[in-house]
Amino acid sequence: MSPKRFYGISPAGIDVAKLSGQLIVIEGPDSSGRSTHIDLLAQWLEEQGYAVAQVGLKRSTLVGAELERAKEGNVLSPRTLSLFYATDFYDQFENRIVPALRAGFVVLADRYIYTLMARDIVRGAEPGWVASVYSMALVPDAVFYLVVSLNTLVERTFQSHLELGYWESGMDCGLSRDWFQSFVRYQKKIRNEFLKMQKLYGFQAVNANRAIPAVDRDLKVRIQQVLQRTE
């Protein structure tokens, strides 16, 4: 069993000693292949006899729908949006992640606090404020950061959607009136935040420019080590 700890203080009513499962986080920009890899990993883990729970952002019962609606209208201030996301995160954290870990599941998280923090900081939030808001999050057993070059990212985004999304392009940040320029600048800014966090939080970078099977093998080898270490 892996000893767990929180980044800062523990949320009211959660006993960290009872969390026997493993929390594995996959981070990376949209179109980096996160969900594809999580599906492959889930299947593989279940074949090996591990119970798996999948979680992601914006999926909470509490505010998931409201958050989606608010984003469509684009009327929330950055801080309101960031607190809305924090509410969504902790709702899933306390009601899905923690119970699954308590029951001994391997929790595969499609992004975690890092994406949320990077987005807030790029939009002008104080890093210290953001870190404190998320200080009740559990330290994962491993964080894999899928690194994709900007060219690959653009290509994959166009291959799957034929257009760039408003939020993924950071159009609310006023970086450029040109959608493509804005996308490139925004993704660079997010990446810079991730590089800063990589040292701070100890992410394992995974080169995701490669074909899916190659990245998949790489992830499985590393996750196998995590499971051996923490069981």
């Binding site: 203080i9 949320p11 009513g13 509490l62 801080r79 509410t87 009740m136």
Partner: protein, 228 residues
């Protein structure tokens, strides 16, 4: 973003705090009516009233989905929405901004629910400390009497039922309110509350509130400008 805190703004921020039943909403309503009647630039806002966030809060409370953390965060989201879209712009535009409850409500209630005090203070770190915070002080049994006599339909979270203090909702409410009062009293000095004796008549309290208000705030600066 914390830099705003130090910045001098032309507007003034006034908050009322106190237990349910302390009469604070009545008092700030009367203050608001008086200022409006005199033709001052004034804006009034209530805790938990942002249109965007209210639906989620209502659902969470109704289905009892909220944990101490998410209860606190959803109220902070509501506050941030009102703060950044209304309160702060109006303070910059030179308004008197009146708030029925402010961050101290969260500091008191959420601390009772077990949230970390330093975490709560940081959560609201972007919000200005009001120019005046009126705290309506009332002995616990008087406040409880007012609520329990007049409004027996207590709500789940309002009564602190999520804390498991008692299976009896009125008893849970009593214990919860007692703890909230302790938190308020401990904060009174830390945040420089202006404490008013809420056992007196509504009229007497209002007279005192207006007197303090006039003494502390230069009202001449808040007359409406005539715009052609």
């Amino acid at each position: 973003m914390r830099a705003f805190e130090a910045e001098e703004l032309p507007g003034k921020l006034i908050a009322v705090e106190g237990l349910d039943g302390s009469g604070k909403s009545t008092q700030i309503h009367l203050l608001h009516q008086w200022l409006k009647g005199k033709g001052y630039r004034v804006f009034f806002t209530e805790w938990n009233s942002s249109v965007l966030v209210r639906e989620a809060t209502k659902k969470g409370k109704k289905r009892q989905l909220l944990t101490p953390t998410t209860f606190s965060l959803i109220h902070a989201t509501d506050f941030a929405d009102r703060y950044e879209r209304q309160m702060l712009p109006l303070l910059r535009a030179g308004y008197l901004v009146l708030c029925d409850r402010y961050m101290y409500t969260s500091f008191a209630r959420d601390a009772v629910r077990g949230c970390d005090k330093a975490w709560l203070r940081n959560l609201y770190g972007f919000a200005r400390v009001p120019d005046i915070t009126f705290f309506f002080r009332l002995p616990l049994d008087v406040a409880l009497g007012r609520i329990l006599e007049g409004r027996p339909q207590l709500k789940y979270f309002e009564a602190g039922m999520d804390l498991g203090l008692s299976l009896d909702i009125a008893e849970s409410f009593r214990i919860f309110q007692g703890r909230v009062l302790d938190q308020y009293l401990a904060m009174a000095e830390e945040f420089g509350f202006t404490v008013l004796d809420a056992t007196r008549s509504v009229h007497a309290q209002q007279k005192e509130m207006r007197a303090i208000f006039q003494k502390r705030i230069d009202l001449a600066a808040f007359h409406k400008r005539f715009v052609q």
